[in-house]
Amino acid sequence: MIFTSLLETAWHALTTHRMRSFLTMLGMVIGVAAVILMLAIGQGAQVMVRGAIESMGSNLFIIMSGAVSSGGARVATGDAPSLTFDDADAIRELPDIVASAPVSPGGAQLIYGGVNWNTSVYGTTPDYAVVRNWSMASGSFFSDADVRRGARVAVIGAVVARELFGDEDPVGKIIRIKQAPFEVIGVLASKGQSLDGRDQDDTVLVPISSAQQKIFSNTLRNRARFIMVQAVSEKRMAAAETAINDLLRSRHRIGVGQDDDFTVRNLTALAETAASTTRIMSLLLGAIAAISLVVGGIGIMNIMLVSVTERTREIGIRMAIGARRRDVLWQFLIEALTLSLIGCGIGLLLGIGGAWLVGRLAGLPVAVTAASVLLAVGVSFLIGVFFGFYPARRAAGLDPIDALRSQ
């Protein structure tokens, strides 16, 4: 029997029971639409997370003052951070380290003209721009000389620039940070959201010396709340971590068996965890959607079984006039396949439309990938074959005379 005849027969059978065919397909439609939508959302989330990770900078450590012991956070003696600027400099000299920036964070109110804005202020060194891989939208970053001099210069994030200056060019303007005047010498390029959902552009960077003297009025000079460190490569991160630990323990004179007064965290590894969490989440979404696809397949099998029972006499007639078992098998298999593939087609359209809508409404960078479309089509095909085969085999296995006798 010719293939086109099979298609014709299947098409005829499906169109004579339109309502039933439609309802049978509905399961597949919903399943495929759900798979496409969920994969698109998952993909969007991954794109977002990857963006955040890239904006964080690569091969990063953060070394925090005070240690986390089994009892919880133990802060170093008094409230003084245990890490010093000299620690940061010493770390930079280690073999696998590219840059090392001490950071003193805090919050402050900024004033420019009549506008004020509350934001986070980071006192740091030029290495911070290296570590964070942060380029300038305009102007320049402050220099080591600025840090040594305690210069009152500031580099502002894109959000701060927009809020304080609007369309004006901030470079060269004087802003007040906690009343102290600072000259804006650069505007940072926009980075968007960080992994923990903060807006990285809502920030001001100043030399760490100036921050401690003029903004935080810190009495403990030369001490940093944390140090951000970049290693040469991901491969060298483990070695670098050990070297940092050894260096700091010896610099801080921590004896064997004593607890560290600092904590080294591999931010890149944390980010990888976040990325893989997102990946798992999107896989989970896809898997849940795939279950509905399987349920849709079972729906097809169910209706095909009913249809085989109902059409037993038709099968008998077809066999009497010369249909071979495999002709009958193919007839029902193609019917199931046609149902699942048409359902898949409609589901694709719905899923892509839905993904577009979600992207528009939620502002998520949803992405319907060719891979997810191929996956949906492939799975639908397999479901059609898998769930169509059993009813089809049943039909083909009928005895001609028994089938003819059935009412």
Partner: protein, 237 residues
């Protein structure tokens, strides 16, 4: 007859058992006969005497419990189900009491169906089906579905379908059972003509003597056995 041809149909000690609640029921208890090509045979007998059972065996729709069946010299019991399907498709046409047309298909598509299973392309089979419908006088009704046709018309569609692949044998189980006497005469006239003019072998089951009278040989069944097998000449005598 010039030369005694090998019989087209030859059955020896054919038996058919049906399993029932209380053991087996012997529907055929040893039937031996042969039918030559071009014969027109009527099978008669009381209800339950095994006529349909016998026809289903001859038509290769069912397999005998014991005994042999040679069709055109070929041992049917050795054929696979696919080979039997091909045999039914090419060599055999069926006409049933209940017509057995597919209700959702048009007359044309019903007639074209065996051609589809013979592997013929869509256009060719539609053309041939149309020609067959014209032969049975239903050229105008080819796009009607069975429900839109009278019983006699439906049976003629069924005959056109049986003829579609140009088989050598037609098995008809009470083909006029559901038809009035006038329509029955038409259908029988058509059968006789097929037999006379094209030499198609015809085996038909009937309860009615006037229908059986169209045949040139009459076989009577009783309790799964042949109790009478007479040629027309003797009938006339």
């Amino acid at each position: 007859m010039a030369k005694p041809a090998a019989p087209l149909i030859e059955v020896v000690d054919l038996e058919k058992d049906y399993p029932t609640g209380a053991g087996v029921f012997q529907a055929l208890r040893g039937v031996s006969l042969s039918i030559a090509e071009g014969e027109f045979v009527a099978i008669m007998g009381a209800s339950g005497s095994g006529k349909s059972t016998f026809m289903n065996l001859l038509g290769c729709l069912d397999r005998p419990t014991r005994g042999s069946y040679h069709l055109d010299g070929q041992d049917v019991s050795r054929l696979s189900s696919d080979q039997l399907a091909a045999l039914r498709n090419r060599e055999i046409g069926f006409v049933f009491q209940g017509f057995n047309l597919l209700p959702k298909l048009t007359a044309l598509d019903n007639v074209a169906l065996p051609l589809m299973y013979a592997g013929m392309g869509r256009e060719a089979r539609r053309r041939q089906a149309q020609a067959m419908l014209e032969r049975v006088g239903l050229g105008e009704r080819s796009h009607h579905t069975p429900l839109q046709l009278s019983g006699g018309q439906q049976q003629r569609v069924a005959i056109a379908r049986a003829l579609a692949t140009r088989p050598r044998i037609i098995f008809a189980d009470e083909p006029t059972g559901n038809l009035d006497s006038e329509t029955s005469r038409q259908v029988m006239g058509f059968f006789s003509q097929l037999n006379r003019e094209e030499g198609i072998t015809l085996v038909l089951v009937t309860h009615e003597a006037d229908i059986a009278a169209y045949a040139r040989r009459r076989i009577r069944f009783q309790d799964g056995r042949v109790i009478e097998d007479v040629a027309q000449a003797e009938l006339a005598a």
